[in-house]
Point group: C2
Chain length 244, copies 2
């Protein structure tokens, strides 16, 4: 019998309820671009990031707290908000010491689902902070659910790739009896580490969407390892940088 | 602009509602073992197969019609039913001219979902009848949704493999803007056509389940191409062999 903790992957928010998360660390994965932006903003000194479901709530809480409001709908800055969902919008000179209220199409929704399902701990993951995520998961010795934000519940390749990249790095520490996790590893291994070329060649749906807005530079940045080596952890309604 | 019909893949029944099926042919995929058994029984002369949701309904309709009742729950013959879900239970000597009332854990459930979502046409697919399925999809020139039955809504590799095998064969005839379909092709290509070795090496969840019941022979049979070259199509409450 294995005494390693279990690891599962949920490839869409619509599948999250299939997994018991009460004792698990849930990793929220929204590579293009919410969780990459979250890591970047915290790495650049943001005090905290408040993920909210709706644009209205984002505006309301932003006003109340005097915080920066940001978010996107369908890949563009949402109407009524100040900033978007690009890591490049949050350099240290702008974001240090600030609080960001953020709403995105898929990532913040998934985070709130994990929260209401009673997740033991919620962290966010992206290539920007992949090593910090993996180190935390190995050190914690808890069950893990990798939760892909997907696109309006449709499975996407970029979040699956990240799940696969994490699993490849930590698989010896976990018991993995989960076909979705095995598929994620296959997809990641097929990419042979050339993530940008891979998603460009595959012409994945979100690549088409973002590239059509001129955001290839964002995609490349979001597929680069460890540009923002922090561990965002959800505590008391906000994502903060964990002490490491 | 492409004038080819669209092809999508739903990797779990929990994702089926994301796709509009009103103009689509929905292919129900439950490789281990419902749709393999359906093809085999029809190939061996079954008059029709009535897929039902519950064991109780299976018994009730079986009695009413004097039909054979069959089905499984969790991979075993369901209590109260006469036969199980193995293709080997339905040789010509037994099934020719008979009607089968069938209930399975995942496959019949998905079929009824596609039905209530208003699918234009419902067929079933498995390696046992892969060429018949592909020929029909190409000839029909309609949008296609490949619907994987999965396992209690959790994505599985064997149904994904079949989706990938179909897409590889018909991709030039369809417009495929669907990451799940691209992932399915990747998984299929990774197997290099050695499907049994692939799922054994990956030690996928359903392989473990069936092998523990001594059903390796079933698995091998269900992964063999064109052992039952028929096209099962759903008409008036039953799956029948389409005229080809």
């Amino acid at each position: 019998m294995s005494t390693k903790p279990a690891l599962y992957t949920s490839l869409s928010p619509a599948l999250l309820n299939l997994y018991d998360v009460n004792t698990s660390i849930v990793v929220i994965i929204d590579v293009l671009r919410a969780t990459s932006t979250i890591a970047t903003a915290l790495h650049n000194g943001a005090k905290g990031i408040i993920p909210v479901d709706s644009v209205d709530e984002c505006i309301r809480i932003g006003k109340q707290m005097g915080a920066i409001t940001a978010g996107e709908r369908d890949g563009k800055v949402a109407e009524g908000l100040q900033y978007g969902n690009s890591p490049f919008e949050y350099p240290e000179s702008f974001i240090a010491g600030q609080t960001l209220v953020l709403t995105t199409t898929n990532g913040t929704k998934l985070l709130h689902m994990a929260l209401s399902n009673g997740a033991h701990q919620i962290i966010t993951g992206s290539f920007a902070n992949i090593d910090a995520v993996c180190e935390h998961l190995i050190a914690s010795k808890k069950p893990v659910l990798l939760g892909c934000a997907a696109w309006k519940d449709r499975i996407n390749i970029e979040d699956t790739l990240f799940a696969g990249a994490v699993i490849e790095r930590i698989k010896n520490h976990f018991d993995i009896n989960c076909d979705a996790s095995k598929m994620a590893m296959s997809i990641y291994n097929e990419s042979e580490g050339n993530l940008f070329e891979y998603i460009k060649t595959k012409n994945i749906t979100h690549y088409q969407r973002l590239a059509s807005y001129g955001l290839e530079k964002d995609i490349q940045h979001c597929l680069t390892n460890n540009t923002a080596p922090v561990l965002p952890v959800y505590e008391n309604g906000r994502l903060i940088r964990a002490k490491q």
